[in-house]
């Protein structure tokens, strides 16, 4: 410092000159995905080949490898994520899920009522399953050495999710956006990074808006497509003089049908998904920090469409690239705004006391699409 500035004569000397210093501005750190398609294709192929060779047993190790790789290539503020899932726990969960599936299929063939009963039991167990699935996924993930966490609030799950689902069913679907909202709110608010809980800022408004708009546009577009295709079919049948259309024509018709309905379905799905995820992740906070999410429905639709086309044309070999592009898009849309140093985020007591080990030993991964 060269020379202290001249103080105005009125101000006492203790006060520093000029306005008070601003607090440091929050830093927005985007998520980055650094994995390459060529590298992941090889991992995917070897995973698949070994899984088939071992009649599925290796699939648990394959899943652990895949998640470790995806986590490791996702970076936030210069640090990557880590996955700690134990393949044996994953295997246990998969065996249980496979047994349930077998029971469901066999029961269904003997009598459709049995299949319904199995579904009923699964539905009742839904809220419990949601808690266990989230618990395993989050507790097995970490960033900068601090594990994520999930509160084992089974009662809350039944109360908030089960209750909302009941309402949705009773209202014949009108209250379905409410159920979606309550589910997200439960999952977000019970999730933690270390000891710090996440919090969902949005209310149910965006869910209703996105839900109903999707439904409206979806219905209109689908009816429109059916209408147009119906006219075309009638026209062709009339022109060919009635009678059953030959198998070749039927095939072409089905193809055209699929070609029109597929982009429609993907487009509606993309709009809905982008809307919901933006509302959820875009309003999630972690203490003083907050998340940003800017998924664009148009870009998401293009991704869905090209992925589907790619997988179809390559008889499935494009699958790893599709997964990768999805991860890249999600990472590109997400960012974390840190208000202060993340070092202020502390690990949970469970992790600090080393009690995680015992829990992992009797955990099993619930590998259901929840």
């Amino acid at each position: 410092m060269e020379a202290s500035p001249e103080l105005p004569p009125e101000l006492p000397p203790e006060f520093p000159p000029g306005p008070p210093p601003l607090p440091p501005a929050p830093i927005v750190e985007p998520l980055r995905f650094t994995g390459s398609g060529a590298e992941y294709f090889r991992i995917w192929i070897v995973n698949l080949a070994l899984s088939i060779l071992t009649l599925g047993i290796y699939s648990a190790w394959a899943k652990a490898r895949r998640l470790r790789w995806f986590h490791g290539h996702t970076q936030l503020a210069g640090s990557s994520f880590a996955y700690h899932g134990d393949p044996v726990a994953i295997l246990k969960g998969r065996l249980i899920a496979a047994a349930l599936l077998a029971i469901y299929v066999v029961a269904g063939h003997i009598d459709p009522m049995y299949a319904l009963a199995v579904l009923g039991v699964l539905a009742l167990a839904g809220p419990w399953l949601i808690v266990r699935a989230r618990m395993f996924t989050l507790r097995m993930s970490s960033w900068r050495g601090v594990r994520f966490d999930f509160d084992a609030d089974y009662a809350g799950s039944y109360r908030e999710i089960g209750g909302a689902l009941l309402l949705a069913v009773l209202s014949l679907g009108l209250a379905f956006p409410w159920f979606v909202y309550r589910r997200w709110r439960f999952v977000i608010s019970r999730s933690r990074f270390g000891a710090q809980p996440f919090s969902l800022g949005a209310d149910s408004g965006p869910f209703f808006r996105v839900g109903y708009l999707t439904l409206l546009v979806g219905m209109l577009a689908t009816y429109g497509a059916f209408f147009v295709l119906g006219i075309v079919l009638a026209g062709v049948m009339f022109a060919s003089g009635g009678g059953q259309p030959g198998p070749a024509f039927q095939f072409v018709f089905i193809l055209v049908f699929a070609v029109v309905l597929l982009p429609l379905q993907l487009g509606i799905g993309a709009y809905y998904q982008a809307g919901i995820l933006n509302s959820v992740y875009g309003t999630t906070t972690l203490g003083p920090h907050r998340l940003h999410c800017r998924l664009r429905a148009g870009a998401l639709f293009k991704l869905y469409f090209t992925n589907t086309l790619g997988i179809l044309l390559t008889l499935g070999l494009y699958t790893p690239f599709a997964q990768l592009r999805m991860a890249r898009m999600m990472a590109g849309a997400l960012a974390v705004e840190f208000d202060g140093d993340p070092a202020g985020l502390a690990a949970s007591d469970r992790q600090q006391s080393g009690a995680l080990g015992e829990e992992i030993s009797d955990a099993f991964d619930v590998d259901v699409g929840l």
Binding site: I45, Q244, F251, Y304, Q323, A343
Partner: protein, 343 residues
């Protein structure tokens, strides 16, 4: 002694501290950073196995960890110290992933393997499993089908004596074509109507549906007996049950292979399944045809009987018997393929 750069995390807070790590000759990890001096014996550290090019990790005692982006430095250090032990499965997988040759072999092997599984393995397994399925399952499957058929079709309009003659003819045929103890061959006459037209169906418990339209299309009893022998062939080989087992298993396999991708997969998983199921169906038709031909040879019924009827059926449906590009979607082989031969 090799030094590499990394980040240190203490496992208590999300603080990131740049450090330099040295692996000494005495198997000691020296971690040095701003205000951080840590010596960890390698035996107490957990070196995570490499997967592709994701950052390397080392677990340290007390929940701390190291994250290393400097792959070369890390590998050199571990190599020099003779470390880098990883689980055997991870090493095998990593070695396979590194070599494109192995990967290409894997790709071809995968496609061939899945193809083999679907078209050879599953049918073989289904055939072996079927004898263990209790007869009650056949009865229940048939009961369900009968309910549906009764609603979808109307009572037969054939004259009484014709009906009786057909039943007698069928009973005689059933004595000549063995179907096994799970089935009781019974003939049911209905009018096919819009839903079925000229057709015949075989249910797992031995009930054979014969529709008026097919009876009228036939020009001799021999033709009808040939078709009914084909249907009894379905019953004898328990095709309905095998189809059920194979279809479910094939769907499960396709789901397993394609299952991990999100929105697209459910749509795509059904398409290959449909193709595979149509393939199974054509195989079953060939087997049933074989039973019919065996019976025709044994009881000296000329093969042309079946061919003529099938050709007439085909013409009624507007085809020419050759099959064409939609053959791989259809559930029956092309008529020319089923009964080859000149007129």
């Amino acid at each position: 002694m090799v030094t590499f750069a990394g980040f240190y995390y203490d496992g208590h807070t999300a603080a990131q501290r740049p450090v330099s790590v040295t692996l000494t000759d005495s198997e000691l990890l020296e971690v040095r950073g701003e205000g951080l001096v840590l010596d960890v014996p390698c035996a107490d550290a957990e070196f995570e196995p490499p997967i592709g090019t994701r950052p390397r990790r080392v677990g340290l005692p007390g929940g701390a960890s190291l994250e290393v982006f400097d792959h070369e430095g890390f590998d050199t250090a571990l190599g020099a110290a003779g470390l880098g032990r990883a689980g055997r499965t991870d090493t095998l997988a990593h070695a396979l992933e590194r070599h494109w040759g192995a990967v290409l072999v894997g790709v071809f092997g995968l496609v061939a393997g899945i193809g083999l599984l679907l078209y050879v393995g599953l049918p073989w397994a289904a055939e072996r499993a079927v004898p263990y399925v209790p007869h009650s399952v056949d009865a229940q499957l048939s009961a369900g089908a009968v309910e549906f058929l009764d609603e979808a079709t109307e009572p037969t309009e054939l004259p009484e004596e014709r009906q009786q003659a057909l039943v007698d003819m069928f009973d005689g045929l059933a004595a000549q074509v063995p179907t096994g103890e799970h089935a009781t061959p019974t003939l049911v006459l209905r009018k096919g109507g819009k839903a079925f037209g000229a057709n015949a169906l075989a249910l797992p418990d031995g009930t054979i549906y014969l529709f008026d339209e097919l009876v009228e299309l036939a020009e001799s009893d021999d033709e009808l007996r040939a078709v009914l022998a084909h249907e009894l062939g379905h019953v004898a080989h328990r095709h309905a049950l095998r189809a059920l087992l194979q279809d479910s298993a094939a769907a499960a396999v396709m789901l397993g292979v394609l299952g991990d991708v999100n929105a697209a997969s459910s749509l795509l998983a059904t398409l290959p399944s449909t193709l595979v199921q149509a393939g199974y169906s054509r195989e079953f038709e060939r087997e049933a045809d074989a039973v019919a031909f065996r019976w025709m040879r044994e009881y000296q019924v000329p093969e042309s009987r079946l061919r003529d009827l099938l050709r007439r059926l085909e013409k009624q449906h507007g085809g020419d018997g050759e099959g064409g590009p939609t053959n791989w979607l259809s559930t029956h082989p092309a008529t020319e393929e089923r009964v080859p031969g000149k007129d």
